[in-house]
Symmetry: C2
DNA sequence: CTGAAAGCGCTTACAG
DNA sequence: CTGAAAGCGCTTACAG
């Protein structure tokens, strides 16, 4: 009978007429061959009756581990990271782990670091799409980097963005586009640097190819402005390759605002294939990035790491999804 | 000097030549008038030098509280809940609390309940947009309900959706619309029931008003189908009121697919004013719901509750945002 | 097959 | 102004 508040294992022990150790062993599922069936049964019944749930703080303290992982993402104002969380949480749950999301530095601000936070009681870290080195010199906890520079110390799980971007370039080249605008994300992250490099190389290798580049925040109205600058040039590109579906949505608005038809006058491509790609008209040709799988594979790798093994780095294929925002280049 | 792993307050005490209690008092910021400045200084230096951070599990165990709150949301596949989290986390951080997100039952599945999860070491619960009674009979932890039926036991923080829906109806009525279709969300939640009731009443009060209603998941292609059913009726509505911006995006596609212009032939309204409302063309007339403030006010209320006070229920105004998807009803 | 004891790292009365 | 001690609730060697 608990005096007050939540029952403890001591209360269960008393109710079942056994010792605290017996309760612990039974409820941990380690009774086999150690505790008689009758006793085990009595313990479980008492626990049920009292509504006993173990105090996790005490267990963590005793065990020196929390079975909780911190997922650091740049923002939750993007469906992408919701999907990463979902994948990570699913795999974690299968192994009795919880996932705590920490949007950083978006919400917490750069001053606070993820490890000074109140929910810092964690066993490991999964960090997605962080600017280079931003996590360096912080906590030495086991860590897997998602969608990040593979040159770092920690194991990575990445998308094959190079392949994705080459597919975009190939698709546009086949449609006869030669003068291509890159509406690039003004974000210091590995994935965007990789995309820019690959696109530059692909256009360079294209006979008569010419690349114009401008930068923008990943946000519709800023993207519209940046894309507009490209479209207002005398040597107007016939295709706009955008680093994100949101940027592509802005680029479509810029085109329409200038009386240009997408895709008849300008082709536009996105990247990610999030919800918005299929919401706008015309629906976007884009590269599908399996965000949920990124989270799932990342968590699997972190669990390996926590288990003392050394996971290999993983690269997940992206896939070109051809929809209605690309068409043959207009005759120049 | 820590033997291995993380330094503890004992290590800091030894390094500073003081007792563990002194370390605890100094680092908790309670030194004033109790510990000499020199000693306090020495403790802080030693802690810095060793890179000491308190073990949260131990602190939680000792204090009987975790300074962590669980935010239960139906899904993270919606920007709305990302915004709720952001607001809640900001207020929580100001009070030294952390927020753990738990998408339920979307990710965890209905079988698992939020309190059996590994990250269950929490002081209170913030639950947003849950189906009625779904949390009843679970953990008796202090709780605030967001965007939920105000008839329940727990304090609520809600949007004034009635006012928002009346504004939509008034706007359409002023534009001359009489035959109005409601593309309603097929989701068992207070907010959607409230919207349906208010819209029904508003159209009933409109001379010559007629309401047609169909239901859909909150998802573009399903919404397109549902809106299509309404548009295919012989008594085709001249306006489609949608329970969500995503549904409105689908409704626009349905209209366009039938050669109908939005807004010349059909007006369409959304609800929420999330990203997508300004991404599609025409941009959506919709009701802006301050999701971040919902999270912030909810957390403030929960903090009050945790503090032993009884917070009042709050209703946050929505605001009609008129954009390009509504226009005068076509002459019938 | 079961129990008594120790100890994880912290904070807080209490003693001096 | 500072220290020694107790105890939060758990799990795991160890003893019997």
């Amino acid at each position: 009978m608990p005096k007050s508040g939540r029952p403890t294992s001591k209360d269960v022990a008393q109710a079942a007429g056994v010792s605290q150790s017996t309760v612990s062993i039974v409820l941990a599922g380690k009774a086999a061959g150690r505790i008689s069936d009758g006793t085990a049964q009595a313990v479980r019944e008492a626990a049920d009756r009292l509504g006993y749930r173990p105090n996790l703080a005490a267990r963590s303290l005793r065990l020196g581990q929390t079975r909780t992982v911190l997922l650091v993402v740049p923002t939750l104002s993007s469906l992408f990271f919701g999907a990463v969380y979902t994948g990570a949480a699913r795999v974690a749950a299968e192994h009795g782990f919880g996932v705590v999301v920490y949007p950083w530095p978006d919400v917490a601000g750069p001053a606070e670091n993820p490890f000074a936070a109140a929910h810092e009681a964690i066993d490991g870290i999964l960090a997605s799409s962080m600017a280079v080195d931003v996590l360096d010199g912080l906590d030495p906890l086991p860590r897997v980097m998602l969608d990040s520079d593979p040159e770092g110390e920690a194991p990575t799980v990445n998308f094959d963005v190079a392949e994705g971007m080459r597919a975009v370039a190939g698709h546009l080249a086949a449609l006869g586009h030669r003068r291509i605008g890159h509406v690039a994300a003004a974000v210091d992250a590995w994935t965007f640097r990789a995309r820019a490099e690959v696109l530059s190389a692909a256009v360079r290798d294209l006979p008569g190819g010419e690349l114009l580049r401008d930068h923008t925040e990943i946000e519709i109205s800023a993207a519209r402005t940046a894309a507009g600058r490209l479209l207002d040039r005398p040597d107007r590109p016939t295709a706009l390759v955008c680093d994100d579906d949101l940027i592509a949505a802005g680029a479509c608005k810029a085109a329409r605002g200038r009386g240009l038809d997408v895709p008849a006058d300008v082709s536009v491509t996105g990247f990610d294939d999030m919800l918005i790609a299929a919401a706008v008209e015309p629906e976007l040709t884009t590269v599908r990035l399996p965000a949920e799988e990124l989270g799932a594979r990342g968590m699997a790798a972190l669990l390996e790491l926590l288990d003392g093994r050394r996971p290999g780095s993983v690269s997940l294929p992206g896939r070109l999804v051809i929809r209605a925002s690309t068409a043959a280049a207009p005759r120049g």
